[in-house]
Amino acid sequence: MRRLRVLHGVLRVTVFALCATLLPVLAATPALAAPEATTLTIVAPPSASLGEPVIVQARLVSAAGAPIAGATVTFTTRFTFLNAGGDMVIAEELTDRTGTATTEFAIRSTGEFVARATFRGTARYAPAQASTPLTVGASRQLYAQEAGVRIPGLNEAPRIGQVMLGAPSAGIIPLIARMWPGMSGWPIAATLLVIWSLYLFVVAQVFRVAGGAAAEAGRQPDAGRAEAGPW
């Protein structure tokens, strides 16, 4: 019974000592502050010419409207090429004293794009994002979406420079030529078929050599070899 009382006393002293040590420390620790909200605005011309450089600016400010300097802003655009697509990173820039990050890039295909600026946030500032539409127009593309041979006047409208001179001609040959990009596999497949068939023919001749030897050995053991020598 006495032992139990002693143990109880030790426990009370320990708890008191712990409380006396930790409580002032906990009281002195500041509460984890929530990151300050930020606002990101993006400015880009609404339209641009194909291949021409476009200047895009993003401005990052705090909730109080104060510019945030030295923050990293990532510029991306949604991009699709053939059967692949995704956000393509154009640039990563730091904001200056006015909170502005600037980049310059040229889009090499026509269409409707969305230029996006992203601030991923820090311990102090919350992330923010902004986007703006961008139309890139031109009468031509800088690359062709489909491989193949295009012959103006045959499977494409004849033209001089950008001036179309008429529609593609009609008839069976232009029709076949127009089907070329989709059909380009067939001539290759046909050529391969011919070559590999000839290979098979050659392999058949090797089997014929082996078969001839077996037949001869069955008819006249060793006679062929004795007459003809080793070859």
Partner: protein, 487 residues
């Protein structure tokens, strides 16, 4: 190899013409040349000797090659582990040593099958003693060269994507199809004339040869006994193959060139790349044959069968192709230089006076000029001279491929500062490993297959007058020439 420089060329040519004429006449009449039995026995002995036994020097050589190959494999594991960042390649110059070496190896692979087929079709009998070596080169170079695109991939496991997502319109797809077709055809073309020689090895090699080797020869000979029916079948097969393999070989290097020519790059923007690559491939291929011929002739003591005639004729072919290559280069640079489109001035500057100038001018003077001059000058028109020219050609043609790939990609697409490329230790080690693999496969093949097509030499070529005298003269250190003892 010792001989009187330049002595008796006309006599050699006259004797060759006489003898070749006899062989061709016999071949035209479907006759088999009557050859002295002792000469034939000596040829068989000499041709089959490497198959019968192996000395310690061979194992030491194989050990050294395996060590280099092992180092190359170690370097590749570093690349697999850490990615292409361990190479010198980056986004601006994304092809380097690997793709240059790929083009080089595919190029020398043309040596064998294409040359052998063309010479067979034209019944040039002088080449019968070297066709086998040429065909070895083709198969081995293709096997090694085809590894480089895989090595060049940061994620080689994605190679299966080409089957899943491959497009007929892509030159890369054409390349895979062409190389697969060519490798299969070349292997068949190597095997067909080997059948009678396998039979010879089966019948002649005694119990000194290991049991597995005798079993291999028995199986590979497919029961060949030289009957008329078998001969007809073999002749049919060889005729088909020699006709098919020529366009296939031409198509392979054309397609390899299109990988570059169909890419939107200033330096690749030319329509003669196909022909240029095919000519370059044959050019470097001939040089590779000459070099291998010289090495095997010396090591396997084949001086009686591989004489000055083969070296001279291949040297003449090399000289002719140096002129063809010169023509293509003049055409290429004159047309581009005349128009000077955007990017061309930069390309010309970097090649001719910039960072690639030393390599470029070595290619022009050492690779195109020197071989032609060596063959033109009577004093240097010797076996040693031809071998020297072949070394120049091989070095220059590797450099040419490096210039096409690296200098071509260095031309900026946008107004940014050009980036430089220098291969890292990983790339250099892998390249050394590839060359070791090439030498290793040739060494192993030389122990499995007769390096001379014995039956064709016996049936269609026969002994070369004076070849033995030359051989013996060479061994005693006395000068001599094929066709006539030294004066």
């Amino acid at each position: 190899m010792a001989e009187a420089p330049g002595a008796g060329d006309d006599d050699v040519d006259a004797l060759d013409t006489l003898r070749l004429g006899r062989a061709e006449a016999a071949a035209d009449a479907h006759e088999i040349l009557a050859v002295p039995p002792e000469w034939r026995a000596r040829l068989e002995r000499r041709g089959l000797a490497p198959l019968a036994g192996t000395g310690w020097r061979y194992y030491a050589w194989i050990g050294a090659l395996l060590a280099v190959l092992g180092w190359g494999i170690f370097a590749y594991t570093r690349q697999l582990d850490e990615g292409l960042i361990v190479t010198g390649m980056r986004d601006r110059i994304s092809w380097g040593l690997y793709i240059a070496s790929f083009v080089f190896f595919i190029g020398i692979s043309h040596a064998g099958t294409l040359l052998s087929a063309i010479l067979r079709v034209t019944r040039a009998r002088w080449q019968l003693s070297v066709t086998r070596m040429a065909e070895f080169i083709t198969v081995v170079a293709l096997m090694v060269g085809a590894l480089f695109p895989f090595i060049d991939m940061g994620r080689p496991d994605r190679i299966l994507n080409i089957l899943e997502y491959g497009r007929w319109q892509s030159p890369l797809m054409w390349d895979i199809l062409a190389i697969t077709t060519y490798l299969t055809g070349s292997t068949l073309y190597l095997y067909l004339p080997l059948i009678p020689d396998f039979a010879l090895a089966r019948d002649r090699l005694g119990p000194t040869a290991p049991r597995w080797k005798r079993a291999f020869f028995r199986a590979a000979a497919v029961g060949w006994n030289g009957s008329a029916a078998q001969r007809r079948a073999l002749e049919r097969a060889m005729t088909v193959m020699m006709l098919v393999i020529i366009p296939v070989a031409v198509s392979v290097h054309t397609v390899v060139s299109w990988i570059f020519a169909m890419t939107l790059r200033v330096a690749f923007n030319t329509s003669i790349f196909g022909a240029f690559f095919v000519a370059g491939a044959i050019y470097s291929g001939i040089a590779a044959i000459v070099l291998l011929m010289a090495v095997l002739r010396k090591l396997l003591r084949l001086e009686e069968y591989i004489t000055r005639t083969q070296f001279l004729y291949l040297g003449y072919m090399m000289a002719a192709f140096s002129l063809i290559m010169t023509y293509f280069n003049v055409s290429e640079y004159a047309v581009h230089g005349y128009k000077m489109e955007a990017g061309v001035p930069f390309h010309f500057e970097q090649l001719m006076v910039g960072p690639f100038a030393a390599l470029f001018w070595f290619y022009i003077f050492g690779g195109l000029g020197a071989p032609a001059i060596i063959m033109l000058v009577r004093r240097t028109r010797t076996i040693a001279g031809v071998v020297c020219a072949a070394v120049f050609v091989l070095l220059a043609m590797w450099i040419e491929r490096y210039l096409i790939v690296v200098a071509g990609l260095r031309v900026p697409l946008e107004p940014y500062a050009p980036r430089d490329y220098f291969p890292s230790w990983v790339e250099l080690s892998i390249l050394a490993g590839a060359f070791a693999l090439f030498a290793l496969l040739i060494s192993v093949f030389a122990k499995l297959f007769p390096v001379i097509s014995i039956w064709e030499v016996v049936e269609h070529r026969g002994p070369e007058p004076g070849a033995r005298a030359e051989n013996e003269g060479s061994r005693r250190g006395r000068p001599g020439v094929a066709g006539r003892p030294a004066r």
